[in-house]
Symmetry: C2
């Protein structure tokens, strides 16, 4: 295990540069920080390019086991002193583990096998989600409710943004995520016989009273403007969430969670 | 309207100091930023101590109306140039409106009138919510689902933290929020005949299959450790959210939203 002792080390500079989208894109790499997140990545078939550790920050006793796993795969591991690790960390309280990993890019075609195996599943299509934290929270809810996959359509948030990774607490690696465009998405959904369901305040029916038990893609738009006209046109199901308060809106991740668990409830009852 | 032209102006320094909890506590003041948020505060009976504006950042045409309302109440208004307003703003894209307001402290006794008027309401009791953003999102869901109030028990997050205000998008002013301790809370719930309902993975019954139609307080604990033993002991209803994925957890605001809308669904069906 190599030790890094200078902040000027090119590896340290590289990690910090990966906080920026253009550097992530150029290098096709991203940052995974934290024990839980790195373990989830490894367990779900993501490979690491390198691992950076700072034993002074370790919280429990299971870090050495994780590091052993990584070394076993011949991934280089670097040890950093606390002052340098704090610089590369994205957290207030780092836990002494940070990895760099190659980005994984799935496309719609990759879903075909997955879809063939499942009957009457549900999934989420997110259009124009702006905040990385919301996208990460949506991933977490997709995992919890058992959504088959998440499609990010005409993305405006990089799914490899460190705040997506953080808010997803490792579910970025458990839920298949596909980035695509409307142009590719709509024919795909049609061919696969997946109904598009739009959540919109203008719908007549409440989400708990509409049949969501067929193959369904829950379409969620951005908080401020909602779904695009094209999405609304293509949605054969339209549902609304009752708004009883004064503010008349929900956080987009909260709204998505409600849809997901309603799809699950209908399948379980 | 007075113009502020120097960053060294004591008012500018005061606003920046209010980002820190000890300064908020000392002065019993907090920051409200943004058109939507300030309007919600005024419309819901919060008074402002002062308003700071930067017309160069205004997004629409309804700002002058809001400013007129504020001036009408004899609240001092100060105009700042963009470079200074950017310093006091908490946002990436400020909208040119930021206010300072006195904190409002409700206690359990203040709820009695509200409770007397309502039959079989639901509310939330949050224990140990750590992230201000989550607390703000919970407030937003409380407003949307029609919860009667939110109780923050043994707080570890200041409800006047700027990130609570921001994530709540103004619902901090529409939903009554009470800070209290377990010692005061438990006798109060008993006296008012409000059932405590704990969301916990160890529960046997799924949340959609348990009767939540009586007066109920939905108790939510922190993500990492859940509810305290005392809360678990006092909860006559225990429910769980199905976890179908690998990560086995939901964001606490997402989980709270599910509970809230289930309580609403049962009342509407």
């Amino acid at each position: 295990m190599e030790k890094i002792t200078s902040q000027q080390n090119p590896k340290v500079k590289k990690i910090i540069s990966l906080r920026k989208k253009n550097h992530r894109d150029e290098n096709d790499l991203f940052i995974i920080e934290g024990y839980r997140e790195i373990l989830s990545a490894i367990d779900n078939g993501f490979s690491l390019e390198s691992l950076f550790i700072c034993p002074e920050f370790f919280l429990k006793d299971n870090e050495p086991k994780l590091i052993k796993k990584v070394i076993h795969k011949k991934t280089p591991v670097f040890e950093l002193p606390p002052n340098i690790f704090s610089k590369i960390s994205y957290r207030d309280r780092p836990d002494g583990l940070l990895a760099i990993a190659p980005q994984k890019h799935l496309c719609l075609k990759d879903l075909e096998k997955l879809i063939a195996k499942k009957k009457d599943f549900f999934c989420v299509v997110a259009e124009g989600i702006e905040k990385p934290g919301n996208l990460g929270t949506i991933l977490r809810s997709c995992d919890a409710a058992g959504a088959l996959f998440l499609i990010v359509c005409d993305r405006c948030t990089d799914i490899f943004n460190p705040n997506v990774v953080r808010a997803s607490v490792g579910t970025l690696f458990t839920v298949p995520v596909i980035e695509t465009t409307k142009k590719e998405l709509f024919p795909f959904l049609e061919k696969q016989n997946i109904k598009l369901c739009a959540a919109t305040p203008s719908a007549k029916e409440v989400f708990t009273k509409v049949d969501l038990t067929k193959k369904v893609a829950l379409a969620m738009g951005c908080e401020q403007y909602g779904l695009s006209d094209e999405f609304m046109d293509k949605s054969s199901i339209k549902i609304k969430i009752p708004m009883m308060g004064k503010a008349d809106s929900l956080n987009v991740a909260s709204a998505t969670t409600l849809m997901l668990y309603e799809a699950l409830r209908q399948r379980q009852s």
